[in-house]
């Protein structure tokens, strides 16, 4: 395994370089082959590593070369393969592969076809590097690289001002989180003298590290995770990121990159487990985000925005699980979510594709018979997201709620349950508005509705199977394959927290039944409002006008930022421009010029242009020199 791990990220990197250099002139419309093949190779290797790492108690660390070597600051360029990395590798490369194949159909005929696949490959490389990194600095490198790819791909349609602005927003908001993450990495080095996972976790396990330092490290790392995983209050960039092409939304802004924060916290489980305060913060932020984003999701009209808020909300669930030390379950939900959210996005992309680019759900409806393959796969995704037995989302979400209950955080549990209800409601609101009722698109669009090509349908079907079956990897309690697979990684963290495997008890079954009933209620309510009595949503909107407006405007978070942080920055920058830049910097430059101009004016009469005057000067000078030499 040591011999080939490095190939997992490098294959997409090679594909990126070749596609970028030769794409425009030479490869052009067949730019998809190389990235797809490279990603398939990475997937195969991830699978091989996954099989080999099974049951290995120790992580496999491969030092490729020494990256930094400055005094005691030693950072190797090392890749670490353990159970967590291998699961992440499989998810990332597998979902990437499917989405690359889907993109072949979806992006067909786009002018930047090669550019799209080049950046997608670069993203694949960065994300695989992120999950395979063997120390925090390399993780940080991958972390920034995925952010960069995200920026490129959100702004893929760069001629659209909204897309360019959304890319910038994503980048800047992430910078806030990454600032914390960067400080956290530095603090780790200061505290432990090393950045290697193995070394750091060993020292934390031994103990003797100050509580304050650990708390600061944990919170700073979590700050980075909040930015990348779009947790409140840094969630604002993710919905805007939907300006990118739909495969990008599916891959980067739903399935993989945004889960990097969850991965980071799970990876640092030992640190978080040692400071209960930090865990509580993670849990509170996660739980709040879960319900906050779900509520916003109710009122969105853009199909991709609904899914974006849903993603934020589901990421909140993952952090809720992390907050009670259910590391493996958070990763489990990450995995199932990758399946069904990628499916939902790709399905939404298929809908948008069939309607010639329409994203507003008010202009959809009645598509069930027109695009059946998309319909059935999308419903599978919706059922998984809502948490209906036996779809993947049921198992993972229920595991989360179960572990929150067992930890005694009943408030988290209750909020999570309400969020589950809302999730089911807005998900099926989306399904019903899109596929049921009367068609609301204009006639010309209506005539051109067509089912998507096979390259798009096949990934949908594969993902739908995943959304149906992936849940059986993580059955609750001792039945969970995934949980016991990940045990070597999270063993020491669980030991610190005193969490043990539990057998299924009556409460678990009760909780499961409750959550399914709640989800069913959400679906029924959606059905009632959007199929049965289609006048109800408008009525409710009028009755609850003030509430509706606040929610529709996403609780005015963007406006709040615009009025405070952005305003302050812009006004402050303008002040600096007017006062510092123009007055001091420009003043210094102009002042220098002015000084010499004045000096020239003073001195110019000396240059009379008359040879005799100069000669007189020479004589006087000579006289002085001779006088000095001779008489002094």
């Amino acid at each position: 395994m040591e011999s080939y791990i490095w190939l997992i990220p490098v294959l997409p990197l090679v594909a990126f370089l070749i596609t970028l250099i030769f794409g425009k002139w030479w490869i052009k419309d067949s730019a998809h082959w190389l990235p797809i093949l490279a990603m398939a190779g990475s997937f195969g290797l991830s699978l091989a590593a996954f099989i080999q790492i099974r049951g290995s108690a120790e992580p496999v660390v491969v030092e490729l070369w020494r990256w930094f070597s400055v005094g005691s600051f030693q950072v190797p360029f090392s890749l670490q393969m353990d159970q967590l990395s291998s699961v992440m590798c499989l998810v990332v490369s597998g979902i990437s592969l499917l989405i690359f194949i889907y993109s072949k159909g979806y992006m067909h005929g786009d002018t930047g076809y090669y550019r799209f696949f080049a950046y997608m490959s670069l993203f694949g490389f960065s994300m695989l590097l992120l999950v395979l990194a063997g120390n925090y600095l390399l993780l940080y490198l991958g972390w920034e690289a995925v952010g960069l790819c995200s920026y490129y791909l959100i702004g893929y349609f760069y001629h659209k001002p909204e897309a360019a602005a959304a890319g910038k927003k994503a980048f800047i908001v992430n910078r806030v989180g990454d600032f914390g993450f960067g400080l956290g990495v530095m603090l780790i080095f200061v505290t432990f003298g090393t950045l290697d996972y193995v070394g750091v976790f060993q020292q934390v396990g031994v103990g003797g590290i100050g509580e304050g330092a650990l708390l600061a490290i944990a919170l700073l790392l979590f700050m980075g995770a909040m930015g990348k995983s779009a947790q409140f209050p840094l969630h604002v960039w993710l919905p805007d990121a939907m300006e990118g092409p739909t495969p990008v939304s599916a891959l980067i802004h739903a399935a993989t990159m945004v889960t990097a924060g969850v991965y980071l916290v799970a990876r640092s489980a030992v640190i978080f487990a040692s400071v209960p305060t930090a865990l509580l913060v993670v849990g509170i932020i996660g739980t709040f985000t879960a319900i906050f984003a779900a509520v916003i999701g109710i009122c969105q009209k853009d199909i991709k925005k609904v899914l974006a808020y849903s993603t934020v909300s589901q990421l909140g669930y993952m952090f809720m699980a992390l907050g009670v030390g259910a590391w493996a379950i958070a990763i489990f939900h990450l995995m199932t979510h990758a399946f069904f959210k990628a499916l939902l996005f790709l399905g939404a992309g298929s809908v948008i594709h069939s309607l010639g680019g329409e994203q507003d759900m008010d202009k959809m409806g009645g598509l069930r018979k027109r695009i059946p393959a998309t319909y059935y796969t999308l419903v599978a995704g919706a059922l998984a997201l809502s948490g209906i037995f036996p779809f993947a989302g049921f198992w993972s979400k229920d595991d989360i709620l179960g572990s929150v209950w067992r930890d005694g955080q009943y408030l988290f549990w209750a909020v999570g349950l309400i969020a589950a209800f809302i999730t089911a409601f807005y998900t099926f609101r989306m399904i019903f508005m899109t596929f049921f009722g009367k068609p609301r698109m204009d006639e010309e669009t209506g005539e051109h509705i067509h089912e998507s090509p096979w390259s798009m349908i096949v990934p949908l079907i594969v993902l739908a199977l995943g959304a149906l079956l992936a849940g059986f990897l993580g059955l609750p309690g001792k039945l969970g394959v995934l949980q016991s697979f990940l045990e070597p990684v999270f063993g020491s963290a669980n030991h610190i927290l005193g969490i043990h495997e539990h057998s299924l008890a009556a409460t678990d079954y009760v909780l499961m039944v409750v959550s399914v009933i709640v989800a069913m209620l959400g679906i029924v309510l959606a059905w009632f409002m959007y199929v049965k009595r289609t006048d109800l949503p408008a009525l409710a909107g009028r009755r609850l006008q003030p509430v509706y407006r606040v929610v529709y405007n996403k609780f005015y978070v963007d406006e709040f930022y615009a009025a405070t942080v952005v305003r302050l920055t812009v006004d402050g920058s303008r002040w600096v421009w007017r006062n510092f830049d123009e007055k001091i910097i420009d003043g210094a430059v102009h002042g220098t010029a002015w000084l010499w101009q004045r000096a020239g004016q003073v001195a110019r009469p000396v240059q009379s242009g008359r040879v005799q005057n100069y000669l007189l000067g020479m004589f006087i000078g000579l006289f002085v020199v001779v006088t000095v030499v001779v008489f002094l």
Binding site: S608, V611, Q612
Partner: protein, 108 residues
């Protein structure tokens, strides 16, 4: 030639007075006269003042090197006069005057 400085008919300081007087006349002429030709003549005066100086000391020290220099200076002065006069001719063609104080186009 011959004899010692002691029995020299004319003492060396006389040469120096003459040379200094010539030099001052030349320098004054260069500085105050307006006509370019006069300025050039004044220059010749100054050169020849130096020549007298050299010859005087050459005799005083009984060393012919000084007179060597004089020959050089005379050759150079001839060349300089040729160039100077050529410039004067060209100037006159352009400006129809040889008054030096009118040539102040390089005024800053």
């Amino acid at each position: 030639m011959g004899g010692t400085p002691a029995d020299m008919a004319i003492p060396v300081d006389w040469y120096l007075y003459l040379s200094a007087a010539l030099f001052i006349v030349g320098a004054a002429g260069m500085l105050i006269r307006r006509n370019l030709f006069i300025v050039l003549f004044s220059l010749e005066l100054m050169l020849n003042a130096v020549n007298i100086n050299l010859v005087g000391f050459s005799r005083f020290h009984e060393n012919l090197a000084g007179q060597n220099f004089v020959l050089f200076v005379m050759a150079i002065a001839a060349a300089e006069a040729a160039v100077g006069l050529a410039i004067a001719t060209a100037l006159f063609r352009n400006r129809q005057t040889l008054m030096v104080d009118l040539f102040d186009r390089m005024k800053g």
